[in-house]
């Protein structure tokens, strides 16, 4: 069953197969958590979004169409939930004492980390902060393309944007990111 394609597993899930669903969750939970955390900049929000995405996959399993790729469908659900979460956060921002944006990057401390590893961690933190400072419409596409390494076709399906829009947003997002991380890019 571990070699089975996502779409075949999903057709089993549609028939109520719990084991197939568990396998899909184990295949995508890390990837989706990474996407949500890079996009939202907050670990707890990311966990909530990913959990809710899988809950919706289970509850809406009947509406899944095998014509499309499962991963694209899953990303679309997670992406919509993440965007809704960002909007809600923006609405409540004025009552929050501290914004979550960019503040929730945890630096693992294993005690024996080498200097190189520590430098890498600090660089990651800087990049995450720079990412979170991008406007969401650019950030989403940069994360999907440059971190999750999805194809442009997948990104157009997930975001519902035209190919030209995706390309212009990624160029703009990259330019903004590079502007903020000049020292890292060696400019």
């Amino acid at each position: 069953m571990h070699e089975t394609a996502d779409e075949e597993l999903m057709s089993l899930v549609r028939r109520g197969d719990d084991a197939a669903f568990v396998l899909l969750v184990s295949r995508y939970k890390d990837e989706l958590t990474n996407f949500a955390e890079r996009f939202l900049g907050d670990r707890d929000d990311a966990e909530d979004v990913v959990q809710e995405a899988f809950v919706r996959v289970w509850r809406k399993r009947e509406s899944y169409s095998a014509a499309g790729r499962f991963s694209t469908w899953l990303y679309t659900i997670a992406s919509n939930l993440a965007r809704t979460r960002l909007k809600r956060r923006a609405l409540w921002k004025f009552v929050r004492l501290g914004g979550a944006d960019g503040a929730a990057v945890d630096i693992p401390d294993d005690g024996a980390a080498s200097d190189a590893r520590a430098d890498e961690t600090l660089r990651d933190e800087r990049i995450q902060k720079a990412l979170v400072s991008l406007p969401p419409k650019f950030r989403e596409i940069v994360v999907l393309r440059d971190i999750q390494q999805l194809s442009y076709e997948e990104i157009t399906s997930i975001t519902g944007c035209a190919m030209g829009t995706v390309k212009s947003r990624i160029n703009r997002g990259r330019a903004l990111l590079r502007e903020q991380l000049r020292d890292l890019t060696g400019e």
């Binding site: 890498e120 660089r123 971190i147 442009y152 990624i170």
Partner: protein, 85 residues
């Protein structure tokens, strides 16, 4: 297909970005999801179930109020009996 803003100077940053693909779901992710799907009513609604703590606190408060009420009833009964003498 990628068209970096200026030349290939984005490539280095892109390598750094690729490295960021390593966040993991927490170890309890599957069990939390299982609870969301198959747990009680509150779990399915995405809420935490009410634990034993609040129930115990409520029980202690109710017992204290009952004890207080019993004390006042006893005191008033004693006064009434002594006045009756």
């Amino acid at each position: 297909m990628d068209t970096p803003h200026r030349g290939n100077d984005y490539e280095r940053l892109k390598e750094e970005l690729h490295r960021l693909k390593r966040r993991r779901a927490p170890w309890y992710f599957e069990s939390a999801l299982h609870q969301r799907l198959h747990g009680g009513k509150r779990r399915r609604a995405g809420l935490r179930p009410i634990g034993i703590g609040p129930v115990l606190v409520l029980a202690v408060i109710v017992l204290l109020l009952l004890a207080l009420a019993a004390y006042f009833v006893m005191v008033h009964t004693t006064i009434a009996v002594s006045w009756g003498k």
